[in-house]
Symmetry: C2
Subunit: 228 residues, 2 copies
């Protein structure tokens, strides 16, 4: 999934972050921080976070080591900030999309189909097709990091499950499904399909695969409920 641009939000685990939000330091500071995060995000997706060297990231960001360690206590803290930022973006995207879907229709089945459609639109509106999920990138290196990162990723995925499965259950109650199904499983299929599509699209060098799979998932929902 792609990170929605979070804008200038400085975040650290310490209470100093509060000062960032309220006092608005020199603008240059958060700029540097954001630049580092953005470049590090790309490097983590293409090389894996562990293998991405600070020097490589900082060179590309045009930032020195001193500047980096002024903003981050360690490389581990960078990982934390990276995942946190990404998770926040994903959750925000979910909220936005479900809110719009709920405005556009009262029917839970239509809402699910709208969520898929709006997500599809979102992909179109991004300039380039997204090239991976940061969670997946970390998940194949998890032994190197704390369980906290995994937790953040899990919470994000569970939020999508919750949103979709609730509507699917309501849809089944209202319309009756063609065959019985487990709402959680069908909801999880969304995340599963996305994560898998990133991997397969990259391996086959076929960026269009992502949208194809997304639409096939929509087909699945429609077939489950006998909608055209």
């Amino acid at each position: 999934m792609l990170l929605a641009d979070l804008g200038p939000l400085a975040v650290t685990g310490t209470d100093r972050s509060v000062c960032y939000l309220e006092r608005m330091p020199t603008r240059k500071g958060t700029d540097t921080r954001d630049t580092i995060l953005a470049i590090a995000h790309r490097h983590a997706l293409r090389q894996g976070f562990a293998a991405a060297s600070l020097e490589g990231i900082l060179t590309e960001a045009g930032v020195t080591k001193g500047a980096f360690f002024h903003h981050f206590k360690s490389k581990g803290e960078l990982a934390h900030a990276l995942v946190e930022r990404y998770a926040r973006g994903e959750l925000q995207l979910l909220e936005e999309i479900t809110a719009r879907a709920e405005k556009l229709s009262r029917d839970p089945l239509q809402q699910v189909l709208l969520i898929i459609g709006l997500f599809d639109e979102f992909l179109d509106n991004q300039g380039a097709p997204p090239d991976g999920c940061l969670f997946a990138s970390f998940c194949y290196q998890d032994e190197l990091f704390s369980d906290e990162l995994r937790q953040m990723a899990a919470e994000t995925m569970l939020a999508w499950r919750k949103a979709l499965s609730g509507k699917l259950r309501a849809a089944a109650d209202r319309h009756g499904a063609r065959v019985p199904f487990n709402p959680d499983t069908v909801a999880d299929m969304f995340t599963t399909m996305l994560e898998g599509a990133f991997v397969v699209a990259r391996t086959l060098n076929a960026p269009h695969l992502l949208k194809e799979q997304l639409l096939e998932y929509r087909n699945h929902i429609e077939l489950l409920f006998d909608r055209e």
Copy 2:
């Protein structure tokens, strides 16, 4: 995807009764080589290949650095051997399963459903649930390796696509589908679902998710063709 057990992966023991394919220099030699490959495979899945240190692998394998560099020219060659071995296993699994499915039924739709079922059986027969796909692990680090590795992974995935899409097309011709569909896309959904399920199952710490998604994929096929 899961590595098909390649058979004689004698790990620690000195089981020399097993006959290796063709080339076999000295038994002890291939034993060491296979041990290294097996351990490296596990490390690559849990830490990412780039971040997995030779020392860690070799310590666990009970092998010295000299022994390693006797068998592999470099760490890069280890990556190559690892991916090649994995790809070979996957292709072999595909062949076995399709051959069995084709024996069990002449109907292409039934064959597809059988392939899914046999794959499910295969998962059951593995002792532990598989914990990832080596291709996926490498795919999020691809900038570090040659395009050759990606190619090998791609060929494997395309083989699965080819096998499934051919049968799906034949099934559509014979039975007519409930709604039109692209056989390649539906075939790719198998790989996509698997790859995604690995990522999500690991992130949510929910190994059962893999089988759930597999069965949901089977549901999709059945719904496409109006069976049951």
